[in-house]
Symmetry: C2
DNA sequence: CGAATAGTGTCTCTCAGACAATATTGC
DNA sequence: GCAATATTGTCTGAGAGACACTATTCG
């Protein structure tokens, strides 16, 4: 069938089943967190064909009557134990290479999730393990399907998003210190930031941080107690938090 | 079937067809251009069920062996006559509300395309008309499916993308003047910009513009001939072209 | 020359980055 | 007091926005 007939296909489709090539649709979740100063992603070790023994992003098939966003949040809550209200969830994009799944034609809609540090959930059925892996340590060649590309897109989106939106706070708990927020930026961007300039910028950007009042407990090494903050109401940061320029 | 069984579904899927709810997958193209100083989108008037008489984005079903990006470019070239090499094409996202198409379950992968001003293509078969419509004049309620949301996402993405990437040049021809580029920014953002500051910023941003040498022909109103530029090699703009802040 | 458009220079204000100095804690 | 962390202040340079001014064309 020629490509230029596709409009015709559409209009005949209600009568001609061949006009609707059958697809399966899945959601895959790039769940990122910061643990011990490193940006980590949640991966599951597969125990069945295909890619048995390989690592994969959590995910699964979208049900016939299920919205895409709903499907992603369901996978998140049921497979990883992360509640939707503590995490930031956004769609990352669709991945649909015809041969990304050896079994059949599958289009995967990837979601990007930022969550505070959480205990690793226990493995679901037919999965060997569930683990947090620092993104720098992920062996892209061992990832199932095209999940290396999905992960790379998620990390790149995360790095860009920290610049102009306040989503970095989604990696922290409800209340957090400026230093904790700085550790998030340092882990995601992979660069050290000046604590003093960072403090001035974050507390000076309108709507980014709201002081809570009470101070945080003092850390193990002593030092002045830090003030606690909650996320403010701004959806966009003005001025933005700019990444240090690479000097090539 | 319970949601927590979805991993099980995946692994049984090769043997149990019920685990793969059937979907149709389409691509829809948000093709934007600037005509007469206004940001315009290409819409087709439908001549068949569903949404007969309604306006829709060009698009169609993805074939069984067809990559998503390829499908989008095919629709672009065959339905709108825009060649891939003169346009900027990027994926916008997946839209998959269970009831977005009354016929069956369809997930649409939307693509965003920026192209120079072109003659409106002639209608394809079974389409009443193909027309450029200024986005400000689009009656969202008349759009078929969820194309109002797709269009809104595309316009918002376009506005943001002009800030930090050189894609605005995709709205111009191969060679263009600074004033033409400024008209693109003004049309997409919907705000007037200072010609003098705009000139200094664009020509001063490394990798954005490359001078061609020869000047452009003088316009109808006379005036000094403008220099011609081509797009430079930068993928990202440093410093960015910032939108004027809204003062609410 | 005057109108129109292109392009440069200058000033001010904001803000990023470097880093000194001060504040508050535990030991 | 000393070490450690938090927070504020100060200086410098880049860059954004306002706008005067110069350059080049047509009629």
């Amino acid at each position: 069938m020629s490509r230029s007939d596709e409009h015709e296909q559409e209009f005949l489709a209600a009568y001609d089943p061949r006009a609707f090539p059958p697809f399966a649709v899945t959601v895959d979740v790039v769940l990122l967190t910061v643990r011990e100063g490193r940006l980590c992603v949640l991966l599951v070790e597969r125990d069945t064909h295909p890619f048995r023994g390989g690592l994969a992003l959590p995910g699964g098939f979208v049900q016939a009557d299920e919205d895409l966003d709903t499907a992603a949040v369901e996978r998140l809550e049921n497979e990883t134990g992360v509640r939707r209200d503590v995490a930031h969830v956004e769609q990352l994009g669709a991945f649909g290479d015809p041969h990304r799944d050896p079994r059949m034609r599958v289009v995967s809609v990837a979601y990007l999730v930022f969550a505070p540090d959480l205990p690793a959930p226990r493995p679901g059925s037919r999965v060997r393990s569930v683990q947090w892996v620092p993104v720098e340590d992920v062996d892209a060649a061992r990832l199932a399907f095209d999940h290396d590309a999905v992960l790379a897109a998620g990390v790149e989106r995360a790095r860009a998003k920290l610049e102009y939106s306040p989503v970095a706070t989604a990696f922290c708990g409800e209340e957090f210190t400026v230093a904790e927020l700085r550790h998030v930026y340092e882990a995601v961007w992979g660069v050290p930031l000046d604590p003093r300039n960072f403090h001035r910028k974050t507390t000076g950007t309108p709507g980014f941080l709201v002081p809570v009042g009470s101070p945080a407990p003092v850390g193990p090494g002593g030092g002045r107690p830090a003030a606690l903050y909650r996320r403010g109401s701004a959806a966009l940061l003005h001025p933005a938090m700019l990444r240090p320029q690479r000097e090539d």
